[in-house]
Symmetry: D2
Subunit: 258 residues, 4 copies
């Protein structure tokens, strides 16, 4: 990106307004915790949006100014407007925007649309330890991260999960209770880049963890669109080489031509 | 598969009934040309279905007895019932069925749902030569195939295309007019396997080509579900290891427990 | 394979002859424990070989009759003859043979040659539990396996490891002590297939575990060469299409030709 | 990289000094043509080295100051010192250096060591056209590149080739004579990144093509090591979780401990 990367952090913002335990940790919402950190990066420009804002926080002019979408949702996946999902999906495929999906956003309409699977899987709330081990130590998303990230308490998600094989598998989670989970998954869809990052149950202060925030910051730069992406032609294209082709006459019959 | 692999070949069957040039090549439809060949394999059990059959050829009892779905469609993608697409999609994700998508079936509802992208791309009808080069010469899908398959006349599809990076890229097409295309693409979605195979424009006798048929036969065995797939638990699961967890009291507050 | 798959199980066979604890578990060697199980499969033909046999168990006629090589080694990697490694390597690349590497065979000359990395990594002997979670539940290598394989006691290997990203990542290990490891890794090298399977420390009865044995049996079929692999031309090839080329005169100057 | 990326362009520099046709195109060598372009980038610091320099251009202090190695070789692969190859290989695996291999450098000792295969394949000199089609239009290596790069005359390399499946396949070449080739291949080996870029036969002015140069520039940034890579522990590691382990007594017998 030549200028700043314009990031929109979208949050369902449901639990934080209703559950005391969540409100205590994220009094202004998960989106604000993320924004407070990301605003320190001079190359990033941060906006936030929630389900309860007008147009669910994503009117057309916001979508069109978003280079990177960060998405957190859990209970209200189905309330997100299909029309908005369509626009976001198209924007990613066209390479105008990248996206980061956090934790339970694996069940969001947009993520499932991009992945081609149905979501769902194993989970457990048992106040257990998670370690996210780095599998690709040379990848820009883990710049500044050690061998693993440790979170003292997290919700568990477990394999086998039906998300597709990522183009690059960057983190694998170990859980105290006995499971593993693909936890940092990089995908390309069309010209757009997508990163799924597992941690972030709303009842834990995960989004204050320095390593978790650093990964999200790195990922924002990684999914950001190119400065000069190719403009790709679609539809019926002429031949690049001279070949004998044909056209059709008024009856739909083929007539050879050069 | 312990018994025979039960294959359902689904065909839009539109062009063959309306265009003389197509009817001449496939008088009983593309599905019958494929069936005629595949019925020779003693381990395969073949059925066919078309858009114009009752229930679009896919009533529940047919879906439930299909191990491998072979799909050809072009102009009538959008007429296929959403309810049927939902059922087929779920069956693939659950690993009860594999699927092979042929040629323009890349634009079908089901394929786009599985891939997460929007379809579309470059194409050209110019009576040109296609060569499908083998990129993974050890893969079971190319058993019995030489270095490449040559088709004297085919429709061109060209890169860049927005289909996702396959788990395994098995064929790459060379076109006389100057383009290339990922043409034999293997994917896993959930527990199900999916193979996309590019050639097969309705105006050419592609589905009589011995190599093309052999690839479809090989692919049918490759996408077929396992004899004994794992039964995967989902939802809230207990801890495999003893850890200190918690439950909630009547007010939604967490209470620690072992 | 049209006939039986001819398997050669190669074992270093060092510890079993020297350490009481190992001899007690594998009195005739790890190779015999594997052979005893695999000999039950009617489509497999089993031979064994060890470092202490003439020609290190791998004279040319044995190599030339091996479709699948299963390899276990630990302390004596460097004693294996370079000439034998060259022959085995070439046979795999040419697609005449597949290979399965077990446990510490990740440090063998042949495996490192195939992978392009240096081996080495984290390990610990702490009598701890390992769970191998299935990540690709539709893959033929896990046919008949549940969600995970549990081994009550194993040696730990931990990530990050420098083995390359596998073409397919089939198992991920969870260790009681806090680590994870890519544990069932499928690779293609040239026309040959390679599978790395982590468990099998010599001081534990891992190779009597029914699931471990089933995976090795499945993998043997998966890495076995094709019935009819393509015969690939190399070197200077003529043009498939008519193009204006050139040859050289006696002075090395280019002369155009058609 | 916090400071400049230190690039060493290594060239065999054989043909340019001996063949008139090559000398005419690259009078100071391929390395200088590349350097002339790359020196314009303010974030890159360029040095060159050749086979005929003392220590083959790669004494230890040069290796230790190289962040990115660019390698061109053809006829003199085998003359490169094994000791140098060992050092370069280790440096890549450790993530201290990335590498770009150009054209026939696919046959170099270092590239074959990293890939695990034997090199070799189809080739043809017929003055034919090459098009490199972009398969991953969102990848940083193709920033600023259109749908394809066209080279009016190049040497052909053809599939099937025995190089391993890349982690990311970025370019696919189309050749006038009828072949295709994986032409822009990204790999990770250990913590290091490797990019293979096909074009660049010495008898054509390929390394003056703006798109080819731009790809090499982009790739140099992409393979460059991280600012803060994880320092990875290897060898015998203590348990992260409390588990009951054991040590050995003076006789090699295991004694349980906590």
């Amino acid at each position: 990106m030549a200028g700043k990367i314009r990031i929109t952090i979208w949050n369902e913002f449901y639990h934080e307004q209703r559950l005391a335990v969540v409100k205590e940790i994220y009094p202004e919402g998960i989106h604000r915790a993320l924004a407070d950190y990301l605003e320190n990066a001079p190359d990033l420009e941060i906006a936030t949006a929630t389900l309860y804002d007008p147009h669910q926080g994503l009117p057309d002019d916001v979508i069109e100014k978003t280079d990177v979408l960060i998405w957190w949702s859990h209970l209200k996946h189905e309330e997100v407007s299909d029309a908005i999902v369509d626009k976001l999906h198209r924007r990613i495929i066209e390479g105008a925007m990248g996206a980061i999906f956090l934790h339970s956003a694996s069940g969001s309409k947009l993520f499932k649309r991009l992945m081609g699977t149905t979501g769902g899987g194993k989970w457990r709330e048992a106040h257990e330890k998670e370690r996210l081990w780095v599998l690709k130590p040379g990848h820009p998303i883990v710049d500044g991260i050690g061998e693993y990230i440790e979170l003292p308490h997290e919700e568990m998600y477990g394999e086998p999960s039906n998300i597709p094989e990522p183009d690059e598998l960057i983190f694998m989670s170990w859980f105290e209770g006995g499971e593993v989970m693909r936890s940092g998954n990089a995908y390309t869809r069309g010209k757009g880049k997508v990163f799924y990052f597992r941690p972030g149950h709303e009842e834990y202060p995960t989004y204050y963890n320095k390593d978790v925030l650093k990964v999200i910051e790195n990922a924002a730069r990684w999914v950001a669109p190119l400065n000069a992406p190719p403009s790709i032609t679609t539809g019926n294209v002429p031949s690049l080489e001279k070949i004998k082709g044909f056209h059709r006459d008024g009856h739909g019959n083929r007539i050879e031509s050069v």
